[in-house]
């Protein structure tokens, strides 16, 4: 039960690759709008969601909009708690150097713990 005006811990859980489906893009739209609500916001990238942050995305030949630069703008929206799961990167042959923004890398165990501390989880 929340008091009016109380701040909630909200985590956006991103588990899907970009471009194959629209979930990554439309999740980002939620995060940008959500910034106006001044909640305690966490972005978590798990599984194929880590591919959303891959550097060097170039969508010219595909004919769709490259939305990856928007992740760089998140800081201006005061979205600064951005996490990537270590194991998800390892499975996919990625490291933090491959990502378009600096992130905090968390182990699966830490991810589990963080999730339990949230008030709301929004899944994309």
């Amino acid at each position: 039960m929340e008091e009016a005006g109380e701040t909630k811990k909200i985590m956006y859980v991103n588990r899907k690759a970009p471009y194959g489906t629209i979930y990554a893009l439309e999740a980002l739209e939620v995060v940008l709008i959500g910034a106006a609500f001044e909640q305690d916001v966490y972005m978590m990238f798990l599984d194929d969601g880590v591919f959303q942050l891959k550097k060097e995305q170039d969508t010219k030949a595909l004919g769709v909009k490259n939305f990856s630069p928007t992740y760089r703008a998140l800081e201006m929206y005061d979205v600064e708690k951005i996490y990537v799961e270590k194991e998800s990167m390892e499975v996919r042959g990625l490291t933090a150097d491959d990502l378009i923004i600096p992130v905090e890398v968390k182990s699966n165990e830490e991810v589990t713990k963080m999730m339990t501390e949230m008030d709301v989880l929004l899944n994309f």
Partner: protein, 130 residues
């Protein structure tokens, strides 16, 4: 308890919409409040009145409309997602220079802020999707 619901897939193709409906119906029967149902991604396709499912099948859209009327539930379709997918009410249709609209009774089109508000106001947020 106050529930917020997000529905991410359209009718018939994925079970998400059925699951959400059955969950909401059960919650209401138990005396809980549904603060809002927010339709996002392909979920916006739940809100078209142009569906004509086979006679022996459930009518997913009408079922939402009836539930909304009976229990005064706020059924909100995300405007940005709706524009991409061709769901429009009279206002949206006019604004976008279209010659028709297709929104079903009981649904309204609004912004993503409505999803955030539901997440903040509700005691529990439950997401149904693919």
């Amino acid at each position: 308890m106050k529930f917020g619901i997000m529905v991410n897939e359209g009718p018939y193709t994925h079970q998400a919409s059925d699951s959400a409906y059955n969950f909401v119906a059960a919650a209401l029967e138990k005396g809980h409040e549904i603060y809002r149902i927010f339709f996002y991604h392909d979920g916006v396709n739940n809100g078209t009145r142009l569906t004509t499912p086979p006679q022996d099948d459930r009518n997913i859209v009408n079922r939402w409309s009836a539930l909304a009327e009976k229990h005064e539930i706020d059924l909100v379709i995300c405007v940005a997602a709706a524009q991409r997918r061709g769901i429009a009410d009279a206002d949206e249709s006019k604004r976008n220079g279209k010659d028709a609209d297709n929104i079903a009774p009981g649904f309204r089109i609004s912004g993503l802020g409505q999803l955030l508000e539901a997440s903040i106001q509700a005691d529990r947020m439950v997401v149904f999707g693919d």
